[in-house]
Symmetry: none
């Protein structure tokens, strides 16, 4: 299965090389020249793997890795560090922040692909029982409860699944049919507009905890759960 691989590398030539390798291996390469660009892109799509240069302008790779691992939304994304020969790569510190592997530049395509394959192979199954925390809201699958602002909210089965999906796929727009697929299952026959109603019910429930516009409407596209409230 094809995976989305985010390449964070400031050297265009090397980035080109990496992207070429990735696409030839049947994967999808998303390119970022800096950490900032990478963060922007991740608001759209959460990648399955990140190739991260050790030395970067601005925020360096190590810091970025650490920030990724400390966020429950992104902490399970495997990271492969890229280091130049000569640069002494602090393996201990790399592993410490949760890097899964590293590759030394210049790299052979064969080696790179082998590592990508290996990391993707052991990627964790999604649905875990770990609580998901986001913007002061905490969803706990083991308790089947949502907590926020000292308040515990009981959700109906569908509302719970819907919120669970939104929280594990936050900061992205999901069309109604995508939501039906992912939350209802792809074997049901339900109207698109039914999603609207459930969104409303979920919004109602979440308003108890003060999360008023956590779920936003993207006109003509669908809905999105976003931590940063775009008040324009």
């Amino acid at each position: 299965m094809p995976a989305n691989i985010l390449v964070v590398e400031d050297e265009p030539a090397i980035q080109e090389l990496l992207a070429l390798n990735i696409t030839q291996a049947g994967h999808n390469a998303i390119r970022a020249l800096s950490v900032e660009i990478a963060q922007d892109l991740m608001r759209e799509t959460i990648p399955d793997l990140i190739l991260l240069d050790w030395m970067l302008p601005g925020m360096n790779g190590l810091e970025f890795a650490r920030s990724l691992k400390s966020n429950s939304l992104t902490k399970n994304i495997p990271i492969i560090m890229l280091t130049a020969r000569g640069e002494e790569y602090d393996k201990v510190r790399g592993l410490e922040v949760g890097a899964d592997d590293y590759v030394t530049k210049p790299f052979s395509p064969r080696e790179l692909n082998a590592r990508i394959k290996a990391v993707l192979r052991r990627r964790a199954p999604q649905m875990t029982d770990d609580p998901i925390e986001l913007n002061g809201l905490r969803l706990d699958p083991t308790t089947h409860r949502v907590t926020g602002n000292q308040k515990t909210i009981d959700l109906g089965p569908t509302e719970f699944r819907l919120l669970h999906f939104f929280m594990t796929n936050a900061e992205r727009v999901h069309s109604r049919s995508q939501l039906l697929d992912k939350v209802w299952g792809d074997r049901v026959f339900v109207e698109d507009r039914t999603v609207d109603v459930h969104i409303r019910r979920l919004r109602n429930a979440l308003s108890i905890s003060g999360h008023e516009d956590l779920i936003q409407t993207v006109r003509g596209a669908g809905y999105r759960l976003s931590a940063q409230n775009s008040n324009h």
Copy 2:
């Protein structure tokens, strides 16, 4: 996680077979040809599970099981009885002395492993005789009684096991089939809905002590014992 499994079986060929199965399942097999050897070995290591032949030279399996269950050090070790087809296994007496399950020889590896797995899976909350206290409720395993709010209530066997399980696994949702597995044991064939009835009986008993909403229904998911009541 690997477990130490003591195999008490006088027939070398069968013992070999058992040990092979166990090691292939990732566990550690300790072999004993007789009860006496087993007792010796147990001075070294207390196993996590005992596979015990029903018919043994010298002290037989039943007596051994009984002696194990009467010793506080060993009484919590689960026992799976091995019986030959034809030997009629006295299920009642087996359960009486505390055997957790039994397997008929000749056995299929698949069956044996399934039973081992099942028994090990539910060893987690060690059934001790220590009282459990939670949220002003005190459950005493020796008397099968719960005390709360100056009132003491007698529980039936199943109600007791159910409450015991809930108290040792509080703040979590348990599906009906999980409860059947953990409280009834996976040997039995009972309807999912039966759980509902026992929940009701338990709730009835607990209401005497003023714990009205201690056990909550999570629609579409199961039941949960929780000190915290959701505030709507």
